[in-house]
Symmetry: C2
Subunit: 211 residues, 2 copies
């Protein structure tokens, strides 16, 4: 693996390629070209080849890529050959939706538990995942060696959840609360702001209409 910095957009695209390859593999196709992957993923062929080139040579010139092999390589690159333990804090609609989200379950993510402060939710089970008291969060992260924490609480609690994550030795945080979290540089943090997506669309529509 080469050592220059790899764009985050490249990683996001690799994830998209892998999902498409998974579909293609199920269809029994053996060989695929960068052009076909590009079409199936909504990017350019040059993009596909460049993205892959960061990590090695996976194809055969004049021929293409072996679907199965390339798929396995990409999963390995993304760390998806490993099993990842995840907890979700905040058992609202979004939290439970994520707990049951097929896109997470199809990969090797294991959702260890859900957590909430609301006593009335304790013990509830969603698709085999139990809701536990927020007070047990730190203990369980340590015991189970949880890798990733997902925050789906209201904004007001997000930072304190993040603090507990950090103290418990979690490695990465996926935050759905629309706020800026302070975490040490060695913790991977990714914010997903659902409302931003709608607002980019309204901007685009509105600017068209103004013309």
């Amino acid at each position: 693996m080469k050592s220059y910095k790899i764009p985050e957009a490249t990683i996001a695209r690799l994830s998209v390629y892998s999902r498409y390859l998974s579909k293609v593999e199920q269809q029994g196709l053996e060989l695929i070209s960068s052009g076909e992957i590009a079409e199936g993923s909504g990017v350019s062929p040059a993009h596909v080849r460049k993205d892959l080139a960061y990590f090695g040579e996976f194809g055969t010139r004049g021929v293409g890529y072996n679907v199965k092999e390339l798929h396995r390589h990409i999963l390995k690159i993304l760390g998806l050959d490993l099993k990842w333990k995840v907890v979700i804090v905040g058992v609202g609609h979004l939290g439970t939706a994520l707990a049951m989200y097929r896109g997470f379950r199809d990969r090797k993510f294991e959702i260890v538990s859900l957590f909430d402060v609301d006593e009335s939710k304790f013990g509830k089970v969603y698709e085999g995942i139990e809701v536990k008291p927020f007070n047990d969060l730190e203990k369980i992260i340590k015991e189970e060696n949880v890798d990733i924490g997902i925050i789906t609480t209201p904004t007001s609690s997000a930072q304190s959840v993040a603090d507990i994550f950090v103290n418990s030795g979690i490695k990465a945080i996926l935050n759905f609360a629309p706020c800026v979290l302070n975490v040490p540089y060695n913790i991977e943090l990714r914010n997903v702001d659902l409302a931003v997506n709608l607002e980019v669309l309204t901007f685009n529509i509105a600017s068209k209409q103004k013309k």
Copy 2:
């Protein structure tokens, strides 16, 4: 408004600034500097000023920005002074979560209806929003002049939902199904792939560990 192309990232940041300004406005603060907005939004002060500069001059040199005024300006830029009608197709966990999502309701988005093919869901009401038969989708979009359609169906149905959206004259689509949709160039399309976010994190953790 100047006419050179505005980066999409700028729009996404404006949305974040507006949320922070909303908070600051509630606290009763009147003046704010680019540095403070930057800190509250997790970006650099230069970024804040550059982003705003695409749209005009909203501050006073040596002084800063009037919180209320700037907030109103940004909302206007994003098209959030208007009311937007939204439908959600696919009443799974994610669909209902989005229907009830505060981040959407706090803005001026009006969720007109939810739609599903499953008869047993027809007539159910989530926070005042009724689930209607998928067959009525086209009719209602036209009748109600719906602006934005959200897709939270399984991947296999996503394209056919998009086709109906397009035929019904919807202006923008927010797609949560992990697939590439084909829509005419004049329809605004935005894909949100929740699993990609987790996979960017696993890549980052995995590459650290390999070092």
